[in-house]
Symmetry: C2
Subunit: 213 residues, 2 copies
DNA sequence: GTCTATATGCAGATAGAC
DNA sequence: GTCTATCTGCATATAGAC
């Protein structure tokens, strides 16, 4: 539509990139201060334009939030679907679910934080009622894996699987608030450690056969 | 100061109760929609007065948030202190820390949710910079218990204790978003189940001593 | 695609009557 | 202790020039 039709310097940013630049600024601000507390002026300042100019690219502030969260949820859904398609051992699938979650969070850190912090607020806005569905799908994915594990006898059956799901998923997703992946401690290691904690527990295995600790 | 000096009908609410009523309404709204997105008019509506009248009781909206969070944090600090004073087995103390957390969350559900959701936003306001300290104290309490357990050989030493702390504490505190205690499933049971999951893991112990992995 | 200028509404907060 | 009335500022969003 309004995209330029001539080819610019190939080293310059492509057309359409401007939208992404704005969304990046907006997402960072939304994540840090909350959606309601972030003004379109702050977003414009961060980009380096005036607030009125934002409306050339987006219909409203809500529209920006919408795009940010939608792409996050699309990615999340894709990865969870792939994990569920694998019919492997429940322990492996649980680990894969943890890893997939951390990968999505790493790819969309701001969106993940917005989802964590502002979900209640957003659900009060009609436009975002679809978020309720997204939450249900996430829960279904985890419960499928947990319940399969219990059925196979691999997982304990004495705990309510919904409670187990909540405790594990929230712990993993909230890592976006404090975890910064590094060479020394990449997300794969966090996924391994978290899964190991959830599956085997914090208790030392000294007393057992040999000593694994 | 401004409290009435005569004794009213003993069945009526005591003087000073009006403040509490307002704080309750405010806390519920702050928790549900977020502090920034809640207006003083909504609070007044909920109480059944006009927004201007709120300022007879409180200096500002921030002052309300301040009182709500302060009493929550005071209670939290008290209970954590008591748990740390007990020099019992690390497993027991970890359970007690979980239980203390759930008790505070149960006693101040709205405040706990505000703290969870709006901490980033509030930390951007000078008045609330003291919240940073509160967070450090919580972390110290958990790390003390975890590290003591590792030192005693009761807990595994192969996981970073800060990571373990984050995963467990966030899972427990976030339960305020979904857990509603009932006769059938009171907080004591959640504390037990969560502690059991963290300490012993989700893996079934069907096979004997041999392969637990 | 950005700017200037501005419409419109609602936010937090205040002063003084009752 | 609440209400009436209102101040002040800033929010989102728009219209049209450049």
């Amino acid at each position: 539509m309004s995209r330029s039709t001539v080819c610019e310097d190939p080293l310059a940013r492509e057309p359409g990139d401007r939208r992404e630049t704005i969304l990046d600024s907006a997402a960072a601000l939304f994540a840090r201060k909350g959606v309601a507390a972030t003004t379109v002026r702050q977003i414009a300042d961060d980009v380096g334009i005036l607030s009125g100019s934002l409306y050339h690219h987006f219909d409203s502030k809500e529209a920006m939030v919408d795009e940010i969260l939608s792409s996050f949820l699309r990615d999340l859904n894709d990865r969870y679907t792939k994990v569920l398609a694998q019919k492997t051992d429940a322990r492996v699938r649980l680990h894969d679910l943890v890893m997939a979650s951390l990968e999505v969070v790493e790819a969309h850190p701001h969106a993940a934080e917005i989802y964590q912090n502002d979900l209640n607020y957003l659900l009060g806005i009609e436009r975002f009622s679809y978020l309720r569905n997204a939450g249900r799908q996430v829960q279904d994915a985890w419960l499928t894996v947990i319940d399969a594990g219990v059925a196979e006898g691999v997982f304990r059956g004495d705990l309510d699987s919904k409670i187990v799901y909540r405790l594990m998923r929230e712990a993993i997703w909230l890592s976006v608030r404090w975890f910064k992946p590094s060479r020394a401690y990449p997300i794969a290691k966090l996924a391994g450690d978290a899964t190991s904690l959830f599956l085997d527990g914090l208790t030392a295995e000294t007393a057992g056969p040999p000593d694994r600790a």
